[in-house]
């Protein structure tokens, strides 16, 4: 419990530092904004002072010299216009600061998350991550835009008003000043009284949402059990509790927020007039001062109310900031900057052990040697560990024991760029970006156009592309041209080949495609045979028939190995059984058409 709250405090501190740093990041902009703020406030509070001078020095003594009056009027005009303009500029500066900070935090978090190891993504929920990157940073934006700007502005305005009041009349200022501690006291009381009610109603609100969403999901069950009325009653109970919690917080708010602050301001107004009365008795009163005070007081409560209302936002933003900070603290992938390059493409696994969760080994003492240019296939059950093999080779995960070598160099010797350039992956899902054909093959690697065309030719896609309306610039994806499944698969192959990799990995690339598409893949593989090292993980055995060597994996170990013919010779082997099973599957499919 203690460590938990300690962690929370550390998070808050981290969030505070994260958000605070951004305020100070662009000192020039901050200085300009603050300067504008001070000038605007000065011009603002000068208005009532000028009116006071007019009343006391001109109106009441009936002294109307045109030059002085004109000057006064011009002064009023200039200060008020300047105040409006300066305040506008200052607000914009603060918005700029805030949005700049949020933009930077967003980019930083996004970049950071992208570079977290895949093991992180095994635990993470994508929806939650997205919400961290977008919603939580949006809450931080509110902190900067609303809280920083509004609170700072109002504090300075309050200060300006107090100073102006003090210059006009110290006694009356002191009376007005009473308002500040009493408002702070009222707000404190409000927080104490309403805290529980507010958090109760927030919780009940999310309970209501959960109840609706759960009932929608489970409606067939509710109806099958004839329990509609019971669930309606349950929901009604929840609804009722929500209403009562909200009424509690409305009551606290009505007792202490706006009505109380307005009452206090009426009290202070009365007190100021009373103080003025005392001054009249003493013969030192100036009516103009009272005018100025009336106009200041009418603006005095507003900043106080604004500030208190923003504290809620502040709390939310701090919670969001803490979550973002937590994410930024995750350790990103580690890549060595070794200068090694993949030349030939020979792969070797030596005594490799691996587990995702301790106690549940996925690969056990795995030995594998693929010569450069070899075509090796790995087949086996789902969950036998075959895709894990590829994950390790791509350095998405690191083995818990043993070594993986490419061209006789350990995997760690390669930089990320070298590994990505040397290994091409054809994944199970042919993912097409909403971008041009060219961008879809290039995938942001900045390849030469010749390389892209060559890859398209190798994948037999070039003629198809040439027949498209804008050739390589044709837009694909949802709003663009739709490719057939086979063409999509060819595009993915071209994408993998465009980087001229020495090793090509296929991860179940044919498990959910029709046989026509499978032939496209098979043909491409046949042509690449000998040129590039091929490691193919497949569910469909027809894809791997031509492989030099087929390895049958079971429970993290290779249990059979050999060419298709060799493996078929042992009728009791797993491979032969798998083959028969697929034959049977074809027979069933034939009936299902």
């Amino acid at each position: 419990m203690r460590t938990e709250s300690g962690q929370a405090a550390a998070d808050r501190q981290g969030a505070f530092r994260l958000l605070g740093d951004y305020v100070l990041r662009d000192r020039g902009l901050l200085t300009r904004a603050l300067l504008l703020l001070l000038l605007a406030t000065a011009a603002d509070v000068a208005g009532p002072v000028l009116i006071k001078i007019f009343i006391d020095d001109h109106l009441l003594v009936e002294h109307f010299e045109p030059r002085a009056l004109g000057l006064l009027f011009a002064g009023y005009l200039v200060t008020q216009l300047a105040a409006a303009w300066l305040r506008y500029r200052q607000t914009l500066r603060f918005s700029e600061m805030a949005l700049g900070a949020v933009l930077d935090i967003r980019k930083r978090v996004f970049g950071h998350v992208l570079r977290l190891p895949l093991a992180f993504y095994d635990r993470a929920i994508v929806g939650q991550l997205v919400s961290r990157i977008t919603n939580d940073t949006e809450a931080i934006k509110d902190l900067y835009v609303q809280f920083l700007s509004v609170v700072l502005t109002n504090l300075v305005l309050l200060l300006g008003i107090v100073v102006a009041m003090g210059l006009l009349d110290l006694q009356l200022m002191l009376i007005s000043l009473l308002l500040i501690p009493s408002v702070v006291g009222v707000i404190y009381l409000y927080q104490r009284l309403s805290g529980a009610a507010v958090s109760d109603s927030r919780e009940l609100r999310s309970d209501i949402n959960a109840a609706v969403s759960e009932s929608i999901g489970g409606m067939p069950v509710i109806q099958a059990c004839n329990r509609q009325q019971a669930f309606v009653d349950r929901f009604d109970g929840l609804n009722d509790r929500y209403y009562r919690a909200r009424m509690r917080s409305v009551r606290a708010g009505a007792m202490l927020l706006r009505p109380a602050i307005d009452l206090l301001s009426v009290l202070v107004l009365t007190a100021v007039v009373w103080g003025f009365g005392l001054q009249v008795e003493a013969g030192v009163a100036e009516v103009g001062v009272l005018y100025a005070f009336l106009s200041y007081l009418s603006r005095f409560t507003e900043p106080l109310a604004e500030i208190t209302q923003r504290f809620n936002l502040y709390q939310q933003a701090m919670v969001a900031g803490a979550r973002v900070q937590q994410l930024l603290q995750e350790t990103p992938e580690h890549w060595s900057g070794g200068g090694a390059r993949i030349h030939a493409g020979a792969v070797r696994f030596a005594a490799v052990d691996f587990h995702y969760r301790p106690g549940k080994p996925v690969l056990k003492q795995l030995e594998l040697e693929v010569p450069a240019g070899g075509f090796y296939a790995v087949v086996g059950h789902t969950g036998s560990g075959k895709s894990t093999l590829l994950n390790l080779l791509l350095n998405f995960y690191q083995p818990s024991a043993g070594t993986i070598r490419i061209d006789n160099q350990p995997l760690q010797a390669y930089s990320q760029a070298a590994l990505r350039a040397g290994i091409g992956l054809i994944p199970q899902e042919p993912f097409v970006l909403a971008a041009s054909v060219r961008d879809n093959i290039d995938m942001g690697r900045g390849l030469a156009f010749e390389a892209i065309q060559r890859a398209a030719r190798q994948a037999h896609l070039h003629p198809v592309i040439e027949s498209l309306p804008r050739r390589y610039e044709t837009e694909l994806g949802e709003r663009g041209t739709r490719l057939s499944t086979g063409q999509r698969q060819q595009l993915i192959i071209a994408r993998a080949l465009a980087g001229a990799p020495r090793i090509l990995l296929l991860d179940e690339a044919t498990s959910s495609v029709d046989s026509e598409t499978e032939q496209v893949v098979q043909q491409a593989l046949a042509e690449l045979h000998g040129e590039v090292t091929l490691i193919v993980v497949a569910h469909r055995l027809s894809t791997v028939r031509q492989a030099d060597r087929i390895l049958v994996m079971s429970h993290g170990e290779f249990v059979e190995a050999g060419s298709h013919e060799e493996l078929m010779r042992g009728p009791r082997g797993i491979y032969a059984s798998m083959y028969r099973l697929q034959q049977q599957a074809h027979r069933i499919e034939a009936l299902e058409r």
């Binding site: 996004f110 970049g111 004839n226 009505a254 009418s298």
Partner: protein, 576 residues
């Protein structure tokens, strides 16, 4: 404003509370008018040296307290009533949901329904609370302030001082329009940002395999920049509000002081009256704001109310107008056709079969053949297109819906558990079942040991805030739920798919022994589960492809025998 007409029934129903709230609001407005007036009188009394202003100041205090009380009161009454409206709409909405069948849920996705139950109801609530407040209070304040200015103080001064106000109103109107548009744009950019992030993170393997981190960074930066730009435009428009108010007020102030001074010189105005006038001027900002605010929330509330209303008025997708109850539990299906509402291809075509009470029917076939649709039609989750289904000797339409549903204990494909205790989840089918009965059902479903091993046993909570159970455990709990009910027909819709073969056989064996004349319909991909059925229907593309018992079907080369052999081969491979 049609929103207030549409909500008329609610206002009429609660006219007493609304009248009370409006009276209190009016009281506040009237009393507030007296504050500047009293201050003006106090100043005049003090300046003229006519003595103290004790009376005025004491009335000011009393006034402050009275206003405080009224403000407290109207908040409770007005907001309380609007919350009641929200509650009422939410409850009605929920009741509608419980009366809708699958045709409805196919058209409306959960996210959309949730949005209506939460955001839309909030918007209506806001219109009925704050909307009424700002409309009424704004108009009243405007009226009273103008009255005080024109009648009590000086009509000439009022006309002169109010010159800048139409400009302020125009400014508000134009700003709020551009803020609205820019805000929409900002929302769009935000959702693009969401989509982009979602896409990148969902495809993280590809990003990493292609070394696309840099390219993704750049694409994200571009959209994030767009979002920042559109947010900046919103901020820029919103920042205009303040200068507009400030300048209008400064101009009004200058005009009233200047003209007021002239009037004082003419002896047509006192110094105190001018002070009151200036205080009144400040009170005019709120009505200007209120009207803009009012338009905004009423517009939103009315769009939201239309969306809610359209759902509240959606008729039940299954009409419950039958009056009879079934006699027995035999099922007869003749020439049954069915197509889903949005598709032309029939999901079921010419299905015929009968299931006498106490019999066991197996249904097999490839994915998408219409197996689940068929059993759901028996329970009227959908309305058949043609043909006839009779249950207990009655056509389905002639039966009370609840009586029909009581005839079936249904275990759907994905076992659904509610966020309540395990015991309550099982007892859902028979509220009031004793713990012994619940345990007996759990034992039959081979899940009793699993439950006892949990920290709180049968009282353990499941769901979001409770335990996470495995798919197999969930399925067995759902089966226990069905077994507890004494419905004459038990329907298992591929309900054992996540349970291992041995457990499946144990459960089926227990079912065979424990059935007290109960009929049973079993849909299963694993054909071994159907072996003991009296009759097995093999569906394909919505039509009956084969039928017969296990032996007859195995004797012929067809889908059933081929699939059976496939699964046997698979089992031997699994044994490796």
């Amino acid at each position: 404003m049609t929103l207030f007409l549409k909500l008329g029934w609610f206002f009429r129903q609660h006219w007493r509370t609304y009248t009370l709230a409006l009276l209190m609001l009016a009281g506040v407005a009237v009393l507030n008018m007296a504050v500047p007036w009293l201050i003006g009188r106090a100043i005049d009394a003090l300046v003229s040296g006519a003595g103290e202003a004790r009376v005025q100041l004491l009335s000011l205090l009393a006034l402050g307290l009275a206003v405080y009380g009224l403000r407290f009161g109207w908040r409770l009454v007005l907001f309380g009533t609007s919350y009641r409206l929200g509650n009422l709409l939410r409850l009605r909405f929920y009741q509608r949901l419980t009366r809708q069948g699958q045709a409805f849920y196919n058209v409306h996705n959960t996210g959309d329904l949730m949005a209506r139950a939460t955001n839309d109801i909030d918007a209506v609530e806001l219109a009925a609370g704050e909307g009424v407040l700002s409309g009424f209070d704004g108009a009243l304040t405007l009226l009273l302030v103008l009255l005080m200015m024109l009648v009590v103080i000086d009509w000439r001064l009022t006309l002169v001082a109010l010159l800048p106000f139409p400009l302020m109103a125009l400014g508000f109107y134009r700003i709020s329009r551009s803020v609205h548009h820019q805000f929409q744009r900002a929302l769009e950019h935000f959702s693009r940002l969401n989509d982009r992030t979602q896409e990148a993170l969902a495809g993280i393997r590809l990003v990493k395999a292609m070394g696309r981190e840099g390219a993704e960074d750049a694409a994200f930066a571009e959209i994030a920049q767009c979002a920042a730009d559109s947010n900046y435009r919103v901020a820029r428009s919103e920042a205009l509000y303040e200068p507009v108010i400030f300048l209008s007020m400064a101009a009004a102030m200058a005009l009233s002081i200047g003209f007021g001074a002239w009037l004082i010189l003419q002896q047509a105005l006192t110094v105190g009256a001018l002070a009151s006038f200036i205080l009144y001027l400040g009170q005019l900002i709120w009505p200007m704001f209120a009207f803009g605010w009012l338009l905004n929330i009423v517009e939103r509330g009315s769009a939201a109310f239309d969306r809610i209303e359209s759902l509240l008025e959606t008729p039940d997708s299954i009409a419950d107008c039958g009056e009879r109850v079934p006699d027995g539990a035999d099922i007869v299906v003749q020439g049954l056709d069915f197509s889903y509402p949005d598709s032309r291809a029939p999901a079921l075509l010419g299905i015929e079969f009968g299931l006498p009470a106490g019999g066991v029917l197996g249904i097999a076939g490839p994915t998408g053949a219409g197996k689940s649709t068929l059993v759901q039609l028996l329970m009227r989750y959908w309305e058949r297109s043609a043909g006839e289904v009779r249950f207990g000797g009655q056509p389905l339409q002639a039966l009370q819906l609840s009586a029909l549903r009581q005839g079936f204990a249904y275990v759907p494909q994905d076992a659904f558990l509610f966020s309540i205790s395990i015991a309550d989840n099982i007892a859902l089918s028979r509220p009031g079942a004793t713990l012994q009965e619940i345990e007996a059902a759990a034992r039959l479903a081979a899940v009793h040991e699993d439950i006892v091993a949990l920290p709180d046993g049968y009282r353990s909570l499941v769901g979001e805030r409770g335990l996470t159970l495995s798919g197999g455990q969930r399925q067995r709990l759902a089966i226990a739920r069905a077994l507890l009910s004494d419905a004459p027909v038990l329907v298992l819709d591929d309900a054992l798919s996540a349970v291992d073969v041995q457990t499946e056989q144990r459960i089926l064996e227990a079912l065979r022994r424990g059935r007290r004349g109960q009929s049973c319909i079993i849909i299963s991909h694993r054909l071994s589960a159907l072996q003991h059925a009296d009759e097995i229907l093999v569906l394909s593309h919505g039509q009956l492809m084969q039928r017969g018992d296990h032996e007859t079907l195995m004797a012929r080369d067809g889908w059933y025998s081929r699939m059976y052999n496939y699964q046997k081969l698979e089992a031997t491979l699994d044994a490796h």
